[in-house]
């Protein structure tokens, strides 16, 4: 596996927003991202959008993974808006779970980097998240350098 290794390791928040509690997928993905060397912050389901934004900020995460199995993806655009409003527009957002074909474009337009449907390969998810985290880290570093100047 050609994993772009970050130092310190990529920080990923794996969470669920909205009402659904099916968390087998989010637990499995959290476990294998952790096993791939990333620092995973895992929350139980039913997080509110402000709570996720706050946690993303406090934990300085590079990527947020949202698991949605029962229509909670419908409020993901509200999360990306809230992240931008909080100055966290650089944080990468990916979604995993069930997103009907005709509702994908709305999420991508809202700034979601990737949607991993059922049956997505572990390596595919790890690689995507690792590369996304590396890109986010570059943006963050550039911003910090700018501030330092």
């Amino acid at each position: 596996m050609s994993l772009a290794t970050l130092s310190p390791p990529a920080r990923v928040l794996v969470t669920k927003i909205g009402l659904d509690g099916h968390d087998r997928g989010s637990r499995i993905v959290a476990a294998f991202l952790r096993d791939a060397g990333m620092e995973v912050i895992y929350t139980p389901p039913w997080q509110s959008i402000p709570a996720v934004v706050k946690l993303a900020m406090e934990e300085d995460v590079d990527v947020i993974g949202i698991s949605s199995l029962a229509t909670d993806h419908l409020i993901v655009p509200k999360l990306t808006d809230a992240l931008r409003a909080a100055g966290l527009g650089h944080v990468g957002v990916v979604v995993g779970g069930i997103v009907p074909e005709d509702e994908r474009a709305v999420l991508i337009d809202a700034g979601v980097h990737a949607i991993f449907g059922p049956g997505s390969a572990r390596d595919e998810i790890i690689q995507h998240v690792a590369l996304l985290a590396a890109k986010v880290r570059e943006t963050k570093d550039a911003e910090l350098a700018e501030i330092a100047q």
Partner: protein, 560 residues
């Protein structure tokens, strides 16, 4: 029980068996080790050496006779086929009413009701983002909502299954509606089919509303209330489905479910209830996976173990208490988003396993289950699948048609012993309540879920269209996803808010105070107060929030 030592008096058996073994070995070369989902090794052939029927009377017997391995009634599906119980729930109460009338007009005598996810979380419709309302179930927060949902539905003449976790507000609203309509509670029949709070704490976190201790108290009050006032109602449905969906193997699922049933039964005994009155109203609810023979063995073994536990361990004397009545739902976890029409075939195989196991009631998933809430069209195919299996495939002609198969009987015995070992482990941990509270069960399920995922990734478990045959082009679902109309949903919320404001706030306070007092008094039945609150116009969210405050908020234990 090892069957290796079975002596056979079949002349010529040994020679013929030896010839087959030699021939098999020559042709197959190096044989693969095959294991089912419960990790039991599966041999290429089963013979009278594995199972020879000598324990027939003790282990099988006849349908309707102890230990009920072959079925809980003498006539089984030949006398009365299973109840076709399709889950429905969508949109506003009016949307639900439209759908349920179609079903009743088509001759159904049983209906189901699935509430909106906001309801599962214990809140009212004005507390969540309106785009999430009614996408997965019906928004019912008050007795008025229930009245509209059941408009024209003959409450006393149909059986209703409700996904109604503790504190059972949907049943409370239904009883309030019945009272309004002058229908006696004694004529109300159906099931609280999400009453198993332990399964929610372990594996279906979205249904988990009250603390473990609080949920335990409310369930026992609910059982006592129903026994006194709604005797035709099944207040307890012990649910294996969530655990299997969360990744428990079929063996683990059956063991944990039976351990849960033992816990509830013991709690009732400790309350001084008559075990025979209680157990007669116990029902079970399971997932039926596509691991066909394993599912059949799971159900046959479960039926046998439950009969023995109920009679010997719980001391039940009435045969009605020994019968393992179960509802099966074809497993959504086995369905794939890829090549979705393939799911029609999967559901048919799952349903066959359930029917041939002698289930009492069946829900077949629509093929779009892996993607969205079913449409009328896909739900119709799911029902037709049951009709085809019954009428065209003649699955109801013979009782326990797989009984006596060397393979099925051997596997039933093997699963039975493994289930019993696990029940012993839960006993050693102090029973299911404690085993769940400590996280023991959750970590076992988590380990099995990860192991299954790894077998899929290694290609040992094949899933068509997911890890093999991915490129078969076939029709995909390209239709627009149906969502409840947002303007009608916001109207529903506005109406609800106006309703809340128009109530006498003094009455609201009085009813909630009475509920809080009952929650804090061991002498009162808290469910009686819940039903009174429903009659007084108190909302679902208000009832749950009051009980969360008094009895503790339900935080599931998440074991990663």
């Amino acid at each position: 029980m090892s069957k290796e030592a079975v002596q056979l008096s079949l002349p010529g058996f040994e020679q013929a068996h030896g010839r087959w073994r030699a021939e098999y070995g020559r042709q197959i070369g190096t044989d693969r080790v095959i294991r089912n989902r419960s990790q039991i090794e599966i041999k290429p052939l089963y013979t009278p050496r594995d199972w020879n029927g000598e324990s027939f009377l003790d282990d099988l017997g006849f349908p309707g006779q102890f230990p009920y391995t072959r079925g809980i009634y003498p006539t089984m599906h030949r006398g009365r086929t299973w109840t076709q119980r399709q889950l429905i729930g969508l949109g506003t109460p009016e949307d639900y009413n439209k759908r349920v009338r179609v079903i009743l007009d088509a001759g159904a005598t049983a209906i189901s009701l699935l509430p909106c996810n906001s309801g599962f979380r214990g809140v009212d419709c004005d507390e969540v983002d309106p785009v999430l309302l009614g996408t997965c179930g019906t928004v019912i927060n008050t007795t008025d909502h229930m009245d509209r949902a059941l408009d024209g539905v003959p409450l006393g003449n149909i059986s209703t299954a409700m996904n109604d976790p503790s504190p059972f507000t949907l049943l409370a609203f239904t009883l309030a509606v019945a009272k309004r309509r002058g229908i006696p509670w004694t004529s109300i029949t159906g099931t609280s089919n999400q009453s198993d709070y332990i399964s929610h704490f372990i594996a279906n976190h979205m249904f988990y509303r009250l603390s473990l201790a609080g949920a335990r108290r409310v369930l026992l009050d609910h059982i006592e209330f129903c026994r006194k006032h709604v005797p035709g109602w099944n207040p307890v449905s012990v649910v294996g489905q969530h655990m299997q969906q969360a990744g428990a193997t079929p063996v683990e699922t059956m063991a944990f479910t039976l351990s849960t049933a033992l816990q509830y039964a013991q709690d009732c005994i400790d309350r001084g209830m008559d075990i025979d009155v209680v157990l007669r109203r116990f029902t079970f609810f399971f997932d039926i996976s596509i691991s066909f023979f394993e599912e059949v063995a799971k159900f046959r073994a479960g039926r046998r173990i439950w009969a023995r536990l109920a009679r010997e361990r719980l001391g039940a004397k009435d045969p009605g208490s020994w019968r393992f009545k179960f509802h099966g739902q074809t497993s959504g976890v086995d369905l794939t988003e890829q090549q979705p029409l393939n799911n029609v075939a999967r559901v048919a195989v799952q349903a066959m396993a359930g029917i041939m196991s002698g289930l009492q009631s069946l829900h077949t998933d629509a093929y779009d289950e892996a993607i969205t809430t079913p449409t009328e069209e896909t739900a119709r195919i799911a029902v037709a699948t049951q009709n085809i299996l019954r009428e065209e495939a003649h699955l109801c002609d013979v009782i326990d048609p797989l009984g006596g198969s060397y393979y099925v009987e051997t596997l039933t015995d093997q699963m039975e012993s493994e289930i019993e070992v696990l029940i012993g482990k839960i006993d050693a941990a102090g029973g299911m309540y404690k085993a769940a509270e400590s996280g023991l069960v959750q970590s076992m399920i988590g380990t099995s879920a990860l192991a299954f995922q790894e077998r899929v990734e290694r290609g040992e478990e094949k899933i068509i269209g997911v890890n093999c045959y991915q490129n078969d082009s076939g029709p995909s679902l390209s239709r627009a996803t149906e969502r409840p109309a947002l303007d009608r949903m916001t109207d529903h919320v506005a109406r609800f808010q106006a309703y809340k404001e128009a109530r006498s706030q003094d009455d609201v306070r009085r009813a909630l105070d009475a509920l809080a007092r009952a929650a804090n008094s061991e002498r009162e039945n808290v469910y009686e107060r819940i039903v009174e609150a429903a009659e007084a116009g108190i909302t679902h969210g208000e009832i749950v929030s009051c009980l969360r405050k008094e009895l503790g908020f339900g935080h599931p234990l998440v074991v990663v």
